[in-house]
Symmetry: C2
Subunit: 226 residues, 2 copies
DNA sequence: GGCGGAGGATTGTCTGACAACCCGTGACAG
DNA sequence: CTGTCACGGGTTGTCAGACAATCCTCCGCC
């Protein structure tokens, strides 16, 4: 009935339209076009994304899934907004969770997990200074994801989407929070060094610097609880 | 930091139908009527639950949200299934996460968090031996949720649904895994005692007994057969 | 000025349909 | 006999339009 579509369908699971919607909205949040607290009204949004309302709602449900959006019955979807205490909680909780990953990496005798970690570093290193700020953001996020993935702890992997979403929102909270890419690069480098050196106290200290201090900085920027 | 404008479950006067679907399916998983790996076909399921396919799909998406189900494009929804390594990861990860909560509880000078914890214990104590096994399960789960909630750490609260779902699946993995309610009751009691005594090493040991040992036990049960 | 109710706007749900896709089956060539 | 490929049934993904339930705003009334 047709010429053979010789091209191997590039994506093994092609064309769920809602995926496009999901990435589109996620990008809008990362880029600050959608800010925490913004309400999403379905009909105009569906029209602007050229999908039906049902498909849009499926995509929105997926975003609620990792906490990027919140849904209140009969009141609709809106971008998650974090209180200052929530921001501190995120930072304070991420440090011990990262330490769980680090422990798993260091307790692996084969060295494979360290290899995974260094690979994550390499990929970050290549994209950390990309001109596209979206790529920079993804590189940063992927590095932290790589740290958890290198632990080969499936529980952490399941918890990652929620964690990533919270961190994304935290950064999006302050639009002006364009953290200096060189600074993130340096922190990540120092962290890798400490892990390779297997210096647990140093690892913890550097995680603390990277995460908690950054959060406190965000909070001071935010200032008057606006 | 005194009066938190409490957010009472602001019921929207009527329950969205998908909530009923969600609890129905969740109950089926808890009760072992749906077992890990089972596939859910939409049309018969929607008919049996007396909702439209669209509403059913919204409910299924919500369940994917906390990890109780997995969705593969064009292959449908199925109950999450965990490998033995995943089961170990869950147990091994929950202990340090519970410790995060415990630290937050103990670092609260006002004693309010301890009060919340004891309240959670009371509610567990009242339902631990309920004749309905579903109530028993909920009492157990609510106790652990109460531990995290008592920490007043909003990040942990966000991570809870995923954690709960993983633990639920882990227990559902082996249908024969009705844990002796008296045993759970004793463990929880011992844990509370250790926390009140502020004995950190003892707390950790008892968490380990309750979580990791239970997981290993599940694995030996499962390993013999299968 | 405060209160209560009408009206519009928005979300929740339904029905029915069609397109896209997966999988098992069986014909066919080697 | 074996591997490949087309075919068809079954299932999921998406659409359109419609109606009910709920929220929100504003206006008249006391």
């Amino acid at each position: 009935m047709s010429a053979q579509p010789d091209l191997p369908t590039r994506t093994p699971t092609t064309t769920p339209a809602r995926e496009a919607v999901v990435t589109s909205i996620r990008r809008a949040i990362v880029m600050g076009e959608l800010r925490p607290g913004d309400k999403l009204t379905e009909v105009p949004l569906a029209a602007s994304l050229d999908v039906s309302r049902a498909t849009l709602r499926e995509a929105l449900n997926l975003l609620v899934q990792d906490g990027l959006l919140v849904q209140e019955p009969y009141r609709g979807f809106s971008v998650t907004s974090l209180s200052p205490e929530a921001l501190r909680d995120i930072a304070a909780t991420r440090v011990p969770m990262d330490l769980i990953a680090v422990h798993a990496i260091l307790s692996d005798g084969s060295g494979r997990r360290i290899g995974l970690l260094l690979e994550a570093w390499d990929q970050f290193d290549r994209r950390a200074f990309d001109p596209d700020p979206l790529v920079q953001h993804e590189a940063h996020v992927d590095f932290h994801h790589g740290l958890w993935a290198a632990s080969e702890n499936s529980m952490l992997l399941r918890l990652w989407p929620v964690t990533e979403a919270m961190s994304t929102i935290a950064l999006a909270q302050d639009q002006a929070a364009h953290h200096d890419p060189a600074r993130a690069h340096r922190f990540h480098r120092l962290l890798i060094d400490a892990i390779v050196a297997r210096d647990l106290p140093l690892i913890e200290q550097r995680l603390h610097e990277h995460i908690v201090d950054a959060a406190e900085e965000l909070l001071t920027l935010e200032g008057g609880t606006a």
